[in-house]
């Protein structure tokens, strides 16, 4: 049963939303958690491989196990959980948000003082990366292939090519091999792999699956089912080089070419997005530029480890529960070209009681490197890293309380080779 109003409504029952709902409840808030599928856990439900929870629990858990570390305590609470429920609209009203929900019971409306967007992310498709040729069966995103294999127990491929070296693609290379499919190779347009190093070793090298960098799929062939793909070398601008085409016979092409935060609800609310993360611009408390709307997990920016998804979910849930409408005064967190992106993008100067948790990714692979954070001409933070790779997100904590920041100040983040 959905009540007429809540302190906090969390949209999305994956790892971010689960952590947010629990954290909001811990603060004593009245909480509703909305999930559009029949079961909680989000994409973790289909991630039957291990490696989840190393940071948080010091254990290697499978996706469903990790999710249950949150689902079980959540079910002990009085948080209202609405599954098979879909948000069709959010409208800002005086001092609250009116949320319209559709479910098997019909259309429901509920009011929330604050909202946590925890809708996760979606996969880039074959059309978004400009794959051409016939539109035949046998082209799947890695997530869809994973659903077929792990949830339905069905094999989407017999002989496949994987394009993109994102983590799900690497995981699926191993998974399909174990289920009896032949993985011809993983092809990556970029000069380096996009996935975690541990997945390169455990999923490709251990199974003798070759990784080809600097190559992409330029064309697909096949009338009904895919019959072959054309692979070409690419230049530094990622454009295919004519004359380098080779054709590989295969029945399946699996794409792991990037994830994009699912931000339809944020867009509809007119919340500004960061073009670098493609998620909402947020402050250190995961609040977007819309008062009372929080965002966390992969909806905020795409994470490589679920542990950090849960962490931002907890921040968003806790702060949503504590939310009181009021002015925020921002300093800007800015990164130069050495950094792919930084989250948060804003620092609320009225709330510097705790150190700010900051996530960033290096724009390129680096050896020993120093991160320097400056405000005005003053250096406020520095840290040395032995290795930085774009696929591996870094997390740091900075205490800005003594930095003497003024409204509108820029806090500059930069990486430089360590001398």
């Amino acid at each position: 049963m959905i009540a007429a109003s809540y302190d906090v409504v969390v949209i999305g029952g994956g790892p971010a939303g689960l952590a947010a709902a629990l954290a909001a409840k811990k603060e004593g808030a009245g909480v509703l958690l909305i999930e559009r599928e029949a079961r909680l856990g989000g994409i973790l439900k289909q991630c039957i491989h291990d490696g989840f929870g190393l940071v948080r629990f010091g254990e290697k858990l499978s996706g469903p196990e990790y999710a249950h570390r949150f689902i079980e305590p959540l079910l002990e609470t009085d948080v209202d959980i609405a599954t098979l429920t879909f948000v069709t609209g959010i409208e800002k009203q005086q001092g609250s948000y009116a949320i319209t929900l559709v479910s098997r019971e019909g259309i429901n409306m509920t009011l929330a003082k604050s909202i946590v967007l925890a809708c996760g992310c979606r996969e880039r498709t074959s059309r978004q990366i400009g794959i051409h040729g016939r539109h035949c069966a046998g082209i799947f995103t890695a997530g869809a292939a994973q659903y077929y294999t792990n949830i339905l127990g069905k094999l989407p491929a017999r002989r496949c090519v994987i394009l993109g070296s994102g983590d799900i693609g690497l995981i699926m290379a191993r998974r399909l091999t174990l289920e009896g499919a032949e993985v011809i190779g993983v092809y990556e347009a970029k000069p380096t792999a996009s996935g975690l190093m541990r997945n390169i070793y455990q999923c490709l090298e251990d199974f003798d699956i070759p990784l080809h960098t600097g190559k992409t799929v330029t064309r697909v062939f096949g009338d009904g089912r895919l019959e072959a793909v054309e692979i070409s070398d690419v230049d530094d601008q990622m454009n295919p080089i004519a004359g380098t085409e080779e054709t590989i016979q295969c029945d399946t092409l699996i794409l792991s070419v990037g994830l994009i935060p699912a931000n339809e609800l944020a867009e509809n609310l007119g919340i500004p997005l960061d073009p670098r993360t493609k998620g909402p611009v947020a402050d250190q408390n995961c609040m977007t530029l819309q008062q009372g709307v929080f965002c966390c997990g992969n909806a905020l920016h795409v994470n490589d480890l679920v542990d950090y998804v849960s962490e931002s979910g907890e921040t968003a849930g806790r702060e949503a529960a504590r939310f009181v409408p009021g002015e925020r005064i921002f300093a800007e967190l800015k990164a130069d070209d050495s950094i792919l992106y930084i989250v948060p993008q804003k620092l609320n100067l009225l709330d510097l009681s705790a150190p700010a948790v900051i996530y960033f990714r290096s724009a390129s692979e680096r050896g020993k490197t120093s991160l320097t954070v400056t405000a005005g001409s003053k250096q406020v933070y520095t840290k040395t890293f032995t290795v930085l790779r774009p696929p591996e997100m870094e997390r740091i904590e900075i205490d800005f309380s003594g930095a003497g920041l003024k409204p509108g100040d820029s806090i500059e983040f930069s990486l430089a080779e360590d001398q």
Binding site: T88, V102, R122, G130, H132, H135, A144, G224
Partner: protein, 566 residues
Amino acid sequence: MSYLSKLNKRLNERYDGRVHATVQNGCLHLSGELPDWQEIVRAGHMAVDKKRFIGLVNDIRLEGQQIPPMRLPDLSDDALEGARPDVLVIGGGVTGCAIARELMRYRIGVLLVEKEHDVAMHASGRNDGMVHPGIDLRKGQTKKKYNDLGNSMYDTVCAELGVPFRRIGQYLCFYKTWMKPVIRASQFYWKRMHIPVRYMSSKELLRHEPNLNDEIRCALHFPTAGIVCPYGLTIAYAENAVDNGARLSLDTAVLDMEVAEGRIISVLTNRGRVYPKLVINAAGVFSEEIAKLAQDHFYSIHPRKGTNMILDKKSAYMVKTIASPINSDKRKEAHTKGGGIVRTVDGNLLVGPNAVETCERENFETNRESIQKIIAKHKKTSPALSDRDIITYFTGVRAATYEEDFIVTFGKFTENIIHAAGIQSPGLTAAPAIAVEVAAIAARYLGAGRNDSFNPIRKPIARTAEMTVEERNDMIKRDPAYGVIICRCEEVSLGEIRDALHRSVPCDTVDGVKRRVRPGMGRCQGGFCGPQVAQIIAGELGIPLEQVRKAGCEGNLLLGSNKEAI
């Protein structure tokens, strides 16, 4: 010198004796061999003369290259063996399906055959969905007649068939200041052609379409232009035909015909031999093949492909109607109305199409270059247009004749065939009018009376996302499946998908469901809902999941169970 000898002289000069023209039974025939398809098409356009001849038959062979034959269904049975329909309609595009439906207004037994696994699989499912005002048509053209009439029928037809149609109008944009008086004066030309038009200053244009290029100096507004979902309309026509008693046979290709004394006696398909009284040829790019089998070969089809792309709904703010550049390509061969940026009925932007001659009638491949060219061309109209917003793209193949006009007529040499052929653009606009006329002449031929029990109304599939709260609650109360959202991008419910699977035109593929109720049409392109739709199909139709296909034959999604091959 006669036209023929003059033509042969010109052909000789250009093709060095490799191409020869003759007149046979009032038709102009080209024969010979050339190494380049573009030249074969050029020779056809060079030779064509609509006034002197019944038609142009271009039999010039392509040297050293096999033109791919018609793809045939895998199926082979005798489901149709011995069938004796009054009318056999060949081709389940919008023309064939509309004709089948209009025939049901008479007491006529109709068999509609389509070689693909669904209707609207070729040009009718692969175009821009524009209902044209008739900007580039000329007096005396068959297509002008049917376009004008068809356009005026759209509101009624779409209301009857429950198909969304919006008469949103089209802006034709001009960039040269000196053209302003010419454009202003040109209004009178269109008015004389009975096409409503209005001159608009750039200021007024930008008031209606604020995101167009402010370098546009003036525009012409054609208020009768509209948009429709072309495959949605075709499916609706087919369903209404079947609801009224027409027999539809999918996966059915015409392989041969038995013709004697100027009459088609029987038609051989992969599903048996059929004995129709009358054959209607609405076979699109294959209508010439049907004409040959019917021994009524008086025209040729030169396929012309075009690519369109669909942009994310978030870019839809750029154009609210249809915005087209004036076709800058002055060459006579540039047979495209220049395309445009079109706000579709579903709220996306569609950009395209281009036009490329091809010998491959069923090659729906897309390529990078076309996409880049189309974006570059239309970026001029709306500068914010970006390839980053593309969510999908597709290619269709137009069935053009060398006369570049429609053929809607009884056979010239065979008595019991009606051709509805050469239906390229604006075939979608013209379809309702062609269908009414073809049905009327067919009824006259057969001496058939009116069918008083004909019901023109088709009940559409509910679209819960567009309902009011009360309507939606009612719907969900009756069937809770309408409250379960399967496709998050397009907000499609389980109830809608189930409905699509149990209608009078069979649907059992993921693409079939997608074309009817749109799961997978959004920005994630079925990444999330694809596997769920496959499960629903398997469950509803009682088939194993492995047998669910993406589209037609052999397009299975899954190749077995885990560890099966180990």
